[in-house]
């Protein structure tokens, strides 16, 4: 394994960089999109609820690979050119956003109905009540499951390997094929994924301890 790291370290590190970049963009993107669709799902407007429901049900029930390949092979043919890294990152963002929408929706809904009524009864608008009362309580409920989603997201970013996205898994496959030492290579790849996921895992634990319980 150490020879792999010594001889092909730069390829794997470049892959790690792409994986990190894709993960960060997908994390932010999926959080924004997921929260938006969570709000759709709990909206008073029926058509928004329907849109939210359809989005979540369709996206989360399609394999990530299919979504990523869709952006890689279908979008370039009919819409606009898109390279593997972009297609994979967009696919990852959309796929994860469906799960985040469900997590955020469940978090918001687990805040008692009375909290919203209490806020509305002094004249706060829906948005003010959400921002002041509901979100702060929902976030504490949502942080632990969200942490799981984010760790899954980093690991799921390996989908980029299938659309030539130059990520860690892509480079790992190339190194494994070039050296024939499949096990050692993937052990190194696994350790490099840990470099990304362990800090994330500890950060989430820290947040849970010092913030959620406050």
């Amino acid at each position: 394994m150490f020879t792999i790291l010594a001889e092909h370290g730069s390829a794997l590190l470049s892959g790690l960089g792409y994986t990190l970049a894709a993960s960060l963009m997908a994390l932010l993107g999926s959080l924004v999109i997921g929260t938006a669709f969570a709000l759709f799902e709990i909206s008073h407007r029926k058509w928004l609820r329907i849109i939210g429901r359809i989005y979540v049900e369709v996206v989360r029930n399609i394999p990530l690979l299919v979504i990523a390949l869709g952006f890689y092979v279908i979008v370039p043919r009919y819409v606009m050119p898109m390279d593997g890294f972009t297609a994979g990152t967009i696919g990852l963002t959309i796929y994860t956003s469906a799960f985040i929408a469900e997590t955020v929706r469940a978090g918001i809904e687990s805040v008692a109905v009375g909290q919203m009524e209490g806020a509305r009864s002094v004249g706060l608008t829906y948005t003010q009540a959400m921002v002041q009362i509901i979100f702060p309580q929902a976030i504490k409920i949502v942080v632990p499951p969200l942490g799981n989603q984010f760790i899954n997201l980093v690991k799921n970013s390996s989908v980029l390997a299938f659309v030539a996205g130059f990520d860690l898994m892509y480079e790992g496959k190339i190194v494994a094929n070039a050296t024939f030492s499949t096990f050692d290579t993937y052990l190194a790849v696994g350790l490099l994924y840990l470099v990304l996921t362990m800090p994330l895992s500890y950060l989430m634990r820290y947040l849970e301890k010092h913030w959620v319980s406050a």
């Binding site: 009375g114 909290q115 004249g123 706060l124």
Partner: protein, 245 residues
């Protein structure tokens, strides 16, 4: 001068007829108690007054605004009509003081320092001046409800609606809450109180409304007379059950 007027109000939940032909006028400064068996529509009636429930048909005028009109801004109604809930509904993520100041600062845009001063005054009035920095989870039920009343008063409302304010409290806590409510009533606040506390209704109420099956069966200004000689058979049955308990 009337504060709240119901004219031929109907309310349906799907096929369920929750409020039937409600006609009721409540004047400014009046304290009206609403009693009746559970499921009679008391809470629904109360919740229509600040728009937490929409009426299906009829006319409902609160503080000169027509609530049946789609263009009426509900937040303007709620600014002027406070509500105290059975389960308090204090904001779990805010301190007692912030629970009280949130409305005046965000909705009335009053300066924070001034709002905090009056919030402390209100806390003193409800006997909780030393609890300002605590979170609601650290308070007893009776304390929570007194904070909820202070929160409502902080908006300087024209009227306050009470939805079974003592039903979720341990018996020894009820007295403190009723005392606060009585103090407010004496200051001339318009109050609509859905309650099972017959003693409060008799002592403090200017008027009593008896509801059953979504209808107002009795509306009586002679509160003592109502308790001694209810006219409606349903009311007689209800009173005797409560008093013999």
């Amino acid at each position: 001068m009337s504060m709240i007027e119901f004219h031929d109000v109907e309310k349906y939940y799907g096929k369920f007829h929750a409020l039937k032909n409600i006609n009721l006028t409540i004047d400014r400064g009046e304290v009206v108690t609403i009693i009746g068996p559970s499921g009679s529509g008391k809470s629904t009636l109360l919740r229509t007054i600040n728009g937490l429930e929409r009426i299906t048909s009829g006319q409902l005028i609160v503080n000169d605004f027509d609530l049946a009109d789609k263009n009426t801004d509900m937040n303007r109604i709620r600014k002027n009509v406070g509500m105290v809930f059975q389960h308090f509904n204090l904001y779990a993520n805010k301190t007692v003081l912030d629970n009280i100041t949130l409305g005046p600062t965000m909705v009335l845009k009053r300066p924070k320092a001034e709002v905090e001063d009056s919030a402390r005054e209100l806390l003193k009035m409800v006997g909780l001046e030393d609890q300002a920095a605590k979170y609601p989870s650290a308070l007893s039920g009776g304390q929570k409800q007194r904070v909820a009343i202070a929160r409502s008063l902080a908006m300087n409302p024209r009227a306050i609606l009470f939805d079974e304010p003592t039903s979720a409290l341990d018996p020894e806590m009820i007295g403190d809450v009723l005392d606060v409510m009585q103090t407010i009533a004496k200051q001339g606040m318009t109050m609509v109180v859905v309650t099972h506390e017959m003693g409060f209704a008799r002592r403090v109420g200017d008027r009593i409304v008896f509801m059953a099956d979504g209808q107002i069966l009795e509306d009586e200004s002679d509160v003592a007379g109502f308790f001694d000689h209810p006219k409606e058979p349903r009311a007689q049955e209800f009173i005797s059950k409560i008093l013999n308990h």
